[in-house]
Symmetry: C2
Subunit: 131 residues, 2 copies
């Protein structure tokens, strides 16, 4: 819901930059903790408000991975995510497109399939080695 013009905000820029340099898909709380190093008085509300704006603008992705709080991703290139069931980490997957599943899903469906959300899960490399 973008009803009015956006104004520059240091906090928003910092959150965006922070996410652009992280590949571990942090939660709002983790982002908040890191932002406090830069802005000791920043509030969680500000973090949530700006994350929400950035998601609406398409500059950040919100990952709702079932249990636990939402996570945020500064990489908006289309890609998929893997959730390790041991350590709960969320990893990026380098894989070819699977957009054809939209066609498969639409074959017996009365309506329009516009996309899909897919999360892969299993045990990550690190956890496989540990066990």
């Amino acid at each position: 819901m973008l009803l009015s013009a956006l104004k520059y905000s240091r906090q928003r820029e910092s959150i965006k930059e922070f996410l652009a340099n992280r590949y571990d898909h942090p939660t709002a709380d983790m982002i908040y903790a890191n932002m406090r190093a830069l802005y000791p008085n920043i509030s969680l509300g500000t973090v949530y408000r700006n994350l929400s704006l950035l998601v609406d603008m398409g500059e950040v992705l919100k990952l709702s991975v079932g249990d636990g709080p939402d996570r945020f991703d500064g990489n908006t290139d289309p890609h998929y995510h893997f959730i390790c069931t041991e350590c709960q980490n969320v990893l990026d997957l380098k894989m070819e497109s699977i957009d054809h599943i939209n066609v498969i899903a639409g074959q017996n469906f009365d309506g329009e399939i516009k996309g899909h959300m897919t999360y892969f899960y299993g045990v990550c490399g690190d956890c496989t080695k540990k066990s």
Copy 2:
């Protein structure tokens, strides 16, 4: 975590039966509202506790569809779900298996892909006709 033996409970049986006959993937609140017709004093806590047990036993599926509360599905046959971005309804999809995407995802991945969670989204048949 099932540490102790389960005892019969009318409430749990009713919730299970209710879900077995619904195809609209109700939320805990909706289940609660319906259960109150049968058990005027049933509490939300009881609904949540029993849903959690049923999910652990594999007799009910929990659907975490991003926004909004979790939904529950009494149909445990493997199948996929579609979320209408207009009316928010969650529909079952009759489609062939797409388990091959696990193989695709695992091709450049250092770890073990055990499965995936996929939700399709778009506009359902009813909403397409309305617009």
